[in-house]
């Protein structure tokens, strides 16, 4: 059976697997995990730091006990050139959603973060598209098991 493509799915990864990714030489948005190209990830862990610059970004750290991963949630939709050509009402919806996500992020809570994998100044980061606060105390354990299962079945781990 062919290996399923991981490129357009949020691949559940442990933090230390993110730190061992290999960037693509030809495409800055693609990273290789055991030879499998991927661009998006889902991580889950305790929020151990939070730094917010109003109307610019929220930087948080997720500790899943294997690594600490920096995640960036952009809050600059109204001033960003990237959004300047989009409908103002769409930009407002995106901006409001980002602000709601940012308000949920508090140190000590467990968060499930989905987003694009990026590399900034030599450090792997996740550009956040979604954050969900997990209240189930077994959520981390189950995420570990999901990551291990996927690694062994899909990534040749």
């Amino acid at each position: 059976m062919d290996q399923p493509s991981l490129q357009n799915t949020h691949v559940k990864l442990l933090g230390f697997d993110i730190l061992s990714l290999t960037p693509s030489f030809s495409n800055s948005s693609i990273f290789y995990l055991k030879g499998n190209p991927t661009s998006r990830t889902e991580i889950l862990g305790v929020i151990t730091s939070r730094e917010q610059k109003p109307d610019k970004f929220l930087k948080l750290t997720i500790d899943d006990c294997t690594a600490s991963i920096t995640c960036i949630l952009w809050l600059n939709q109204h001033s960003s050139h990237y959004f300047s050509k989009r409908q103002p009402t769409t930009v407002r919806v995106i901006s409001d959603l980002a602000k709601r996500l940012a308000a949920d992020v508090q140190i000590g809570k467990v968060a499930r973060v989905r987003g694009r994998i990026t590399c900034y100044r030599g450090e792997f980061q996740v550009t956040v598209s979604d954050v969900v606060i997990e209240r189930d105390p077994n959520a981390e354990t189950l995420h570990w098991l999901d990551c291990l299962y996927l690694a062994r079945r899909c990534f040749g781990g």
């Binding site: 305790v46 750290t61 006990c65 600490s68 077994n138």
Partner: protein, 125 residues
């Protein structure tokens, strides 16, 4: 590529924090889980227990956490080894994890460690 973010709290169980253990190091960033046996408001020291071992936790830096004896708590922080060789975790994160399946947690922890060791072995080969 290494992360320059805050150090992760490596999961250890209180029985693994003996003086001969690899985790028993001053300043080591650790994550521990256990049932709260006692808590002193005056000293802000909590004592948690797991699998018949206990560990002291310095909770003075924690906010918005209610300590209830008998509940299960999880802490992330740095290990401080006192002059009498007793370890205390200076917690920077703490949360109530009542409802956690500790058996599943411990078993899964072993699987994660095994997986990490296999990955590191295959990376060095």
């Amino acid at each position: 590529m290494a992360s320059r973010a805050i150090k992760p709290g490596v999961v250890v169980t209180p029985p693994e924090l003996q003086s001969s253990s690899e985790f028993f190091k001053e300043g080591a960033s650790l994550r521990v889980t256990g049932k709260l046996q006692e808590y002193s408001v005056e000293t802000a020291i909590a004592v948690i227990a797991d699998q018949s071992a206990i560990l002291k936790i310095d909770t003075q830096h924690l906010r918005e956490i209610s300590f209830r004896v008998g509940s299960i708590f999880q802490f992330i922080g740095e290990l401080h080894i006192q002059p009498n060789n007793e370890a205390i975790l200076q917690a920077r994160i703490g949360r109530n994890v009542d409802g956690i399946d500790l058996n599943l947690y411990h078993q899964s922890l072993q699987l994660v460690r095994q997986f990490q060791a296999e990955r590191m072995n295959s990376a060095t080969m």
